[in-house]
Structure formats: C-alpha cells, structure tokens
Amino acid sequence: MAASPTPTIDIESLGLDQGALLLIRRALAERPVGGELRVRGQSPDWRMHLEAWCRSQGHPLRFETAEEATVTRGPHAEGRWLGAQSTGFAQGDANGAPAEDAAPGWGLAARGATVEAGSPPFFFALYRRDEVWAATAGELYRQAAAAQWDPGTAIDWDAPFDLPLAVEAAVVQVMTYLIENENAALLVPARHLGQIHPHFREVLQLLALQCSDEARHVEVFTRRATLRGHQPALSTAGGQASLRTLFDAPDFSVATFLLAVLGEGSFVNLLNFLQANAPDPVTRQIARLTARDEARHVAFGMAHLEYRLSVQPDYQARLRNAIEVRYDTLASTAGLNEEVFDALVLLAAGELSPSAVARGHAAVQQLQRDMAAGRRARLARLGFDRDEAQRLSDLHTRNFM
C-alpha cells in the first residue's frame, strides 16, 4: 500500500510575521506528534522565521528546496493541556445549576472553559453552591440588567414645587436616613461579592447590579437632600449601630437574610409610603424607581434562602438565632430616631396643622403595620410557622432596616 502523501501548506508570499504563523500552526495541529507537514513559501524571510519559530517550539525542521521545508510536529504542544480541568458547563447542569463546589484552580476562568493544569489557585471563601446560589439568580440578573435607569434623565429634577421650610427639612432628614441605609445596602453585598467564586456568575452579576442600584440610590437621595441648598441632616448612634450588625453578620446567607429579607423588605414598604405620601413630585419619582430596584433585591434574598433551606433545612435555626442575637445587640439602642419618625409624619401631613399631623401620624402607623405584615409573610414563606413568624417579626429592629 502506498504511503499517504505528506500534507502540504502553501503560505505563498505571506510572511510569518504577517499571519502565516496562524496557517502553519493550524495545519500542524492536524498532524499527529511525529507527523510531518510540508510548508511552501515565497516571502523573503519565511525560511529564517520558520527556522527560528520551529526552534522555539521544539518542532524539527529540514529544508527540501529553497521553496519547501518539512516540519515534524514536536511532542510538546499537547503537553500544555495534559491534566487540564473542565469547569462544568456554561449553562449549568440539566437544572441550570452550577457545580456544587467550585475548585480554587478554576480561578477566574469562564464557566465551561478548559483550564490549564498549574493555573494558580484563587481562594474564594464562598465556593460552595449552597452558600450563595438561588434558582432564579439568572432570571433576576436579566431583569436587573433590563431595569437600570439613569438618575440624570429618569427623574425630572426641575419639576416645580414649593414646600414650607419645615416640610423641606423633613424631606432632608428622611433622605439623610435613606442614604445611610443605602450605604449599608451597597457595602454589605459588596463585601461578600469579592469572596464569591466566579463560577457562580449569575449571583456575582446580580450582586454587582445590586451594588450599582444602591450607588444610584445614594446619588438620587443625596441630590434630593441638597436640591434646595440644604446639607444632609442628622444621623444617630442607634441607627448606625443597627446597620453595623449587618456588617458583622457572620456569613453571606445570614447577611442576606438580615439585609434583604428583613431590612430591604421593610424598606420597600417605606419607599411605597414615600411614593404615596411625599409632598413633592421629585421625591415621589425617586421613591417609585428605588422601590422597584429594592423589590428585586428582596426577591433574590428570598430565592437564595429558599434554595439554601431546601438543601439544608436545619439552617433555619441559624436564621432564628441571627434575629435574636441582633435584637439583643440592639436592645440598649434607641431604635428609629424621633427626628426620622417625626419627619415621616410631617411628610405625610404636608403641613403643621393638627388635622394634617393626625393624618400623617395615622399614615406612619399604617406603614409600621404594613412592614410587620410583610416581614411575617416572608418569614412564613421561609418555613417559620405563624406564631414564630410573628415573634421574630416583632424582634426586628425598630430602625426598619
């Protein structure tokens, strides 16, 4: 049987420094180790460059004629991919879920990529799926990406309004309070974000947008606070102590529980209250847009905890403890400051007359009932029975967040 002819590639007058290397590399990759490839060329330096390249890559080379060389495929090229690791599938498993544990050696590689052995390990504290995952993470990310808005154009900053000085001061006080809460809502997920293995990319992407949402909220609340030339107002030790417990939460799930399920959940009620009761159109627009974002954050928090409890039912005890410990920590603090409480009343009242204040006060009391009912409902969805949900909801900080 006649030996099959040696494959030939003609790079014509294309130089190796003009792209011919690509053609040679591809043709050589189709040969087995030890197999030969004939290369024909005409560019002035192709022989010299081929010689230098083959030497550097470990491919033996001989020239047959001035226009023709034979390259033998060296054994080294595939060495690079021996022992390479697969990092799962880009779209996850049949249920769309990523791997259970993400290996340090997968590093920053795309999910589904093939990673060269010897890649440096990255030590992410959050590398276990159950500690971060939510079944709806991908869908929530897509929603979040589609719902981004530009603070410069989404809000009509020039909308005309005129408020009594005391009411404007109340708006400034509420904005001041919102800003410190949003700082917490930005920084708590951000502190976990850098600890999450990028294999869980949907969670990473979603949290990144959450941070971006909060950054935008800080901007719009600041712009509203200073819209009429005022500086932000008062921040209390009790308020900050309450937020501090979110920073000190021991793990991602507990932090998510305290921040998203309890805090941001109540926050949505507060923003809805402002949308309905704020005395000026700018504040109402801000409240409407920010409430929409916050509702998504709550949805992720709930989805993550539902997932975690589905695979680890006894984790519920950790959630209960987290509320109780936080209650004890904050027992000696003042809770919601009276400046903020009074400001909310005044906002809903719109003026300082007794009848208006009575109306505002009733509205704030309704807000507090709505917040408690929301917390109870979310706790019930996480599997707490009715009485337990009531008890835990009552233990929630009076700071709302």
């Binding site: 130089g15 190796l16 420094d17 003009q18 290397l21 002035p44 330096d45 010299m48 460059h49 010689e51 230098a52 390249w53 030497r55 550097s56 890559q57 470990g58 060296g74 080294h76 595939e78 060495g79 690079r80 021996l82 022992g83 060269e116 052995a117 010897g118």
Partner: protein
Amino acid sequence: MSEPTLIMGAVAYAPKVVTIWEGFKAFFVKNGLPFDYVLYSNYESQVEAQFDGTLHLAWNSPLAWVRAERIARSRGQQVQAVAMRDTDCDLRSAIVVRADSTVQSLADLRGKTIGLGALDSPQATLIPLDHLRTEGLVKSRDFQVRYFDVLGGKHGDHIGGERDAALALMAGEVDACCLIDGNHLAFGLDGTLPSGSTRVLARTGAYDHCNFTTSPGAPAALIDRFVSLLMAMRWDDPQVRPLLELEGLREWRAGRTSGYALLERAVDDEHFYDGDGRITNPDYRY
C-alpha cells in the same frame, strides 16, 4: 554530616531569574538534590567565581563559556558543558537593512554605520562582526559601528540592545542592524519592525548559546544528579512548565561544545579576551 550542597551561579539579567531559580531550587530539593544558587550581576564575576571555589557550576552565556574554558586551559584544568536548552542549539543572527535601503549586498555596507547590540553580545555584536570580517569587512576600517550597549556584563541576554538597534534602524540613525533571527520574527510580530519594512542582507553561520558549565573539580556525583534531574523535567508537568517557559525552552539537552567555533574566532579577532581568558577589550564596562 549533612550531604554537601551543589552551588550554582546565575546572572540576574532580569527579575524573572529569581523566579526561575527559586522554582528550580524547589524542584531539585524536592527530588533529593541539595541545591542552592548565587546570583551575579555579570558573567565576568561569575566565571571568576568558578575558579575560586565558590561555585560548582554556572549557567553561562556562550561568551562566559569561552572565557571559562580559556581560564581553565591556562591553568591546566578542565571545565565541561553538561547541559543546554533545546533552543540554545543552532541559532543564527541576521544583518538587516531597511527595505528601501540602497544597500543590496554586504559590500555596500562600506562606509556605512551598523547598529550592534551590547559590546559583549555574542548574537548582536561579536558573531555578526565575525561574519562581516569573513566577508572582508572590518570594523572601523570598512564601516562604522554604533553600540546599543544595554546592561554590560550580561552578554547580550537582555533584549533591549537589539530592540534599540532595530528602532535606530527604523529611525534612519543606522544603515543596518544585527539581531538574532528569532528577534527579527518577534519584532515583526510586535510591530517594532513592521513586516515588510526590512530586508535581511545576510545570516551568520549557526552557533550555540548558553550551557551549564562545571567548575574545575566539581563534585561529579552531584553534577550527575543535577543533569539527570534536568533531563527528567517535562514540559507537560504543570509544576515545571511555567519555569521552562520563563527560561525559554521545551526540553533540556546534553551539553555540546561543537557550536562555539564562530564565537571563539570572534573573541580573538575582536580582542575581547586573550588566550588565557583575560579581558582585553579596554572599552568593556560591566
């Protein structure tokens, strides 16, 4: 009594040298060879240390090999080249002009200025000068030179001299420049010498580059173990591959000394070292 440690010298021509030899040291020690290394800022001091008992062997440039061999011979001693990289064998340098140059042959370089690498670069200075001399062209008499003398004492290991010479060629400051063939390709790929902008006027003969040079009286058993561990390094071993990539090789090979004839001749003709390995070039700084 603890086993003696094999001490190797290497020249710190770039920061990566520390990474390379720390990595290799860990590999040797893990495989049972007590090994340590000493870094030098130049090959001249390193070669001298091979004769005062400091070093058992040295990772030498070809020029350092020539000097070590001459010093040994003058003392009635012997040094050996025990290993080298696959990429050290059969290199060539090129003498390059701009594509639009009127220079069509080496003879046309008479009266012109040629850009060289460092004064002590085998590939970008000494061997190209030797090639020109064999073609009847002698430095200063037939043409002028301009040295791009980056990091003296490193024997041209630093690519900077060749790059500077290439840039000077493109800027019209020199009429030709000399560089190793692989760098001509690399400079074409990275845009230093845009493809098609230069013409290769001549290529030198083939020559070899670095080797591990033993010192006189080096402990043979340790050297043997060292060489066999080098030969056992595999490019498909992910622990070793990054080091081999940094050092620029796919596999280690047994040392050979058949590829240094061109450089030997250049060293004599350029009066770089004398027959006993003494430095005789008065302009050499390291």
